[in-house]
């Protein structure tokens, strides 16, 4: 049995960490490198760092924060948010990213996948799938016309060569109300890739609900940033319930 992966998901804006709700209302959540070092000492399994300003096309990815973080931690690091071309991806790897996180660029530039795959391998590409639910139907956040089928989108990305999928439930993000269990179950049954789930986790019971339907990797934000949890405590809870976690 594999270890359950607990992965802090950190948003970067103006060289600070921020955290919001439903992808908006971001407030200051600390200094990036010291926070990452603290999370490492709490035995987080990986760290995902997403540059919000770059995602919103305000500026280029914040490579200096990435570099500063990778100099002081020895925890696997996924970097993304607004990476648009192979040069930016190369730079991120060179500065210490182990995986590249791509989301909106995958709608108009799928070629970037094969380019990264050729040089760095599929295992280095995490595809971000941002799901919004509207009138009980599920759509992709970036798909303004609400035409693209989520599963067709994911399958096409797998065909292009991504190695891992991160599912984010945008409506639940920052709300602590748990995840969409039915949709998660369907995703797990259809997608044969490692899947990280994010958005809505507010307590350990909600993580256990997801483990019971087959999920094993979780990206968490508000749970550790604004609550009295830390990674070690979450893992201790899971361990006490009989789940396999790494300390």
């Amino acid at each position: 049995m594999s270890f359950i992966r607990i992965i802090p998901s950190l948003l970067l804006s103006k060289k600070k960490l921020v955290k919001g709700k439903n992808f908006t209302n971001h407030i200051n959540a600390g200094y990036p490198s010291t926070t990452c070092l603290a999370l490492e000492s709490q035995k987080c399994d990986e760290i995902i760092l997403i540059d919000l300003d770059s995602y919103k096309n305000i500026q280029c990815p914040d490579f200096s924060s990435l570099s500063e973080i990778s100099k002081i931690i020895s925890t696997p690091l996924t970097f993304g948010g607004g990476i648009k071309n192979i040069e930016q991806a190369k730079k991120a790897f060179k500065l210490g990213a182990d995986k590249i996180y791509l989301s909106q660029t995958l709608f108009n530039n799928k070629d970037i996948i094969s380019k990264i795959k050729k040089i760095f391998g599929s295992q280095s590409i995490v595809a971000g799938i941002n799901i919004i639910t509207h009138n009980q139907k599920n759509y992709l956040l970036e798909d303004k016309e609400k035409k693209i089928d989520i599963f067709e989108h994911i399958k096409s990305l797998i065909k292009c060569g991504v190695g891992e999928i991160k599912i984010t439930y945008v409506n639940n993000e920052g709300t602590n109300k748990g995840m969409n269990l039915d949709l998660s179950k369907k995703i797990i049954s259809i997608i044969d890739l490692p899947i990280i789930f994010e958005g809505g986790l507010g307590n350990v019971e909600q993580i256990i609900d997801m483990i019971k339907i087959g999920a094993n990797s979780f990206a968490i934000g508000s749970m550790i940033i604004f609550k009295d949890y830390n990674i070690y405590k979450i893992k201790q809870h899971l361990f006490n319930k009989g789940y396999k976690v790494r300390f």
Partner: protein, 203 residues
């Protein structure tokens, strides 16, 4: 002690560099073949695709100097940096490896063709009495190809990707130590491993 890290233009060089730096070593980044013989130890990092890496090493005449170095001095290959020491590699088409390890690098034959995350390493031989890593310590993996070999004499530790699906975790042959996992990304256990390599003297 001069520790060189090979730069093949597609690796997580700075992570390996920073890990060593934190252990008190000031490593040398190597991108020219003539620097290799000046080193005492050589590390070849991972994160990359096999064909691209081998083509780069050949084009820049790095294969021969690595072989010569390996005959006398210790080399650590991490992930892809280990896999390139096999005879044949199949990622993005066939490429010919350095050939120090009698094996082939193939796609993982598991339900999910990727091994991303932490796995315990089961040691069945000790590389060295000096190694202070306990059996079943966990290390970080991120790969979809693995070293497959019929001769397992030089495999000292394995990990299970799935039940009954084992992969070599640590390879040890002559002056060569190879790891499928990433010590530079494996927190405390990884640091212990790198420290072991830095202090390692071939008997």
């Amino acid at each position: 002690m001069k520790v060189g890290i090979l730069d093949y233009n597609a690796c997580n060089l700075s992570s390996v560099f920073s890990s060593l730096y934190r252990l008190g070593i000031n490593p040398v980044v190597i991108n020219k073949s003539e620097i290799i013989p000046k080193m005492d130890k050589l590390i070849i990092p991972g994160v990359g695709a096999a064909k691209n890496c081998i083509d780069y090493l050949k084009y820049n005449s790095l294969i021969e100097p690595i072989k010569v170095f390996l005959a006398n001095k210790p080399v650590l290959g991490i992930c892809l940096g280990m896999q390139i020491f096999a005879k044949k590699l199949y990622e993005n088409g066939l490429s010919e490896g350095i050939g120090h390890i009698d094996g082939e690098v193939k796609k993982l034959n598991t339900k999910i063709n990727f091994n991303i995350g932490w796995k315990e390493v089961k040691f069945f031989k000790k590389i060295d009495k000096e190694i202070k890593i306990e059996n079943l310590s966990s290390f970080y993996y991120c790969h979809s190809y693995y070293l497959s070999s019929k001769k397992n004499d030089y495999c000292v530790g394995i990990s299970y990707v799935e039940k009954n699906s084992e992969i070599p975790a640590i390879i040890f042959k002559d002056n060569f130590i190879g790891t499928q996992f990433h010590p530079e990304k494996s927190q405390i256990n990884g640091n212990k491993f790198l420290e072991f390599f830095l202090n390692w003297k071939r008997n």
